[in-house]
Amino acid sequence: MSTASSGFKLGEWIFTTDHKRIGILYLIGSIAAFAVAGIMALLIRIEQAAPGPTIVSDAFTGGDQYNVWLYFHGAAMILGFLIPGLTGFAANYLLPLMIGAKDVAFPRINALSVWLFWAGIVVALLTFIVPDKPDVMWTGYPPYSVTTAGNTALYVFTVHLMGFSSILAAVNFLVTIIYMRAPGMGWNQLNMFVWSCFTALIIQLIFVPVLAAAVTLLLFDRYLGTHFFDPANGGDVLLYQNLFWFYSHPAVYVIFLPAMGIFYEIFATMAKNPIFNYKAAVYGGMCCIVLISGEVWVHHLYYSGMPDWLRIGQMVTTLLISVPVGLMTISLFGTLYKGAITFNIPMYYGTASLYLLLIGGLTGIPLAMTVMSVHLGETSFTHAHFHFIMGIFATFSVFAAVDFWFPKITGKMLNPAQGKLGFWLNFIGVNITFWPLFIIGVEGMPRRYWDYSQFPSHFAGYHKVATLGAIIVAIGMILTISNWIISAIKGEKAPDNPWGSNSLEWTHTATPPGPGNFPAPVTVDATWTPYSYKR
């Protein structure tokens, strides 16, 4: 079975074990999650456009409605869109093609992963149907999540399903990368995207079980009467926060690393350049992030009553993250140096990523400093920071990936005019949305507030501007996603290698790739790399 088979049969898609189709199923599910969570974001922004009830019914039930939007936005964007969009869709579709393999190591486990993911999406969507809608935010902190009338079980089961899906996918892809590379392909010849997934999936494999354990204990506390997080009976509130962030900070790198990997691929291809200082970016950058990622979680708990020595110790480790990230950034920027850059939709997103990476990364530095964070934490400064790096940089990487590999996946070209218009609206819109939030964040605007009447009246103006930005983004997103759908159906036919890339998925497969991926077994020699363009 392959994406190239003639005619559409639903059963073939549901029971597929082809990594390309599974990748596409991941893409459809994650874009669906993105769309619903995006609508939640719009509701959140419209509500905040003015102090007092804007679209919620009244001051007393307003919080209940708004908190459900916030919960779904956060949980669905991270668990349903970013992680499955990058390590589900992109990794599934591209890894076997990039390493010259026929499929993943365990195709049926791969099918199970995508089923679990879809089940997770369905359970998450139940939020809108059940009467006791979950309102525990994506963090689910007890005691609130234990005592709330909202349905914490839906949150826990969403995490379980997505988590098992991630763990299975991680094992599957790690084995695939280690054992199924084309004969002759050494570790230093791998695509940057392969390396970024390899490192991200190691993090995924180590840390997801911790999150699964934390939310399971939460489930027991809520429904079985245990007291893991109940201090009145010998439990500890902070235990959950530590377990949660012990996973959830590394989860940031599960998103960040593949996002960087995608931009590396686009830069190298569009600039027709080798990766600048490949080994420094891979070993000094990605591998070091794996090593440090588990020792920085306390920066989410700088004002949570943690011991002072931990707050200071992890300030140092958190700041040191700038070393591997800095090496990767230099390598990414350096890949453009003396290149021959072609501009098209993926490269538009690539160019924007330079700026987004800097804004998102640098605004993380004050938040890494314990004392700075004690004021800036939990304000809209923090909110704008992680939206720049996670919300926009990573989301743009998914968009760039779809746009870049669209000809490969569908055999069609995108409509460039619509794609570029969509890009500009997205890019301008996110800046209009999040810069005002940086400013009022420094002045003390807290996160997760739907009303802010107690604050100076000029906050309302900033919130209005931010809401205007969100509406611009919404139009941009509609243009972008409708471009994919329309072009997939009736776009211009794509040539086999429209970008002139040197990577295996472009040079050695049909467009779109047929069953078994490669018409003939692939071997590479010691001089081959995906980035050695003939001078």
Partner: protein, 241 residues
Amino acid sequence: MKRAVSALVLTGLGVVAGLAEAKEKVAIPDPAASWNQLWHHVLLDLFIIGIIFLAAGLYWVWKYRATRPNQIGEGPQLTKLGAIGFAVVPAFLFMADDFFLAAKGWTVWNEYRNVPRNAMEVKVTGSMWSWNFEYDNGVSTTFMVDSKEGEGLVVPVGKPVVLRMTSTDVVHSFFLPDYRVKEDLMPGRVTYLWFNPIKEGETLATCAEYCGNRHAFMWTKVKVVSQADFDTWLAKQKQGA
């Protein structure tokens, strides 16, 4: 010789300790002011790094655009030494900046955590959704979040205030935006923060940890009044109770 050295060291330490003692007597630090100063240093630091990278990136994007079809990039193939240099030198530069920021941050952090000895203690209890403040003499006032009834936190000007905080139900956070400080409140633990109210006036404290339906309304007044007014107020509260 050994003895002389140790005597010298001890004297030195004594002098330093004495100076520190003297310094504490004269001036109580103002963490909010230190925070503002550090914030400007950090912003400058970020601005410099950001401008260098952004200028290089945008300039290269513009300068190295392809001028003819099928053009191939001429990016450098680094020698072994070049590769190591481009990894080690930036790594040390980044580390230097990290340690510089960490040291600066730690210095101000020490101000945040070392409560001045003459600080007035107030017990703060957060609940869904009210703030309770309990003073040394047993006076306890509650600020109701829904009705906005209650005195809020009243403190005398010029005297550092340390808040010993806990919660009766879920996690809350006592956030004083004007004093650049917050700390969470939770059941089963007592946390603290201190601030230095250097001028009279009314400001607000607001909850910064998600606590359900009324989270956005969970704020309270913080009134800084003269010592005389504070004494009168406290006496009146005591009588009322």
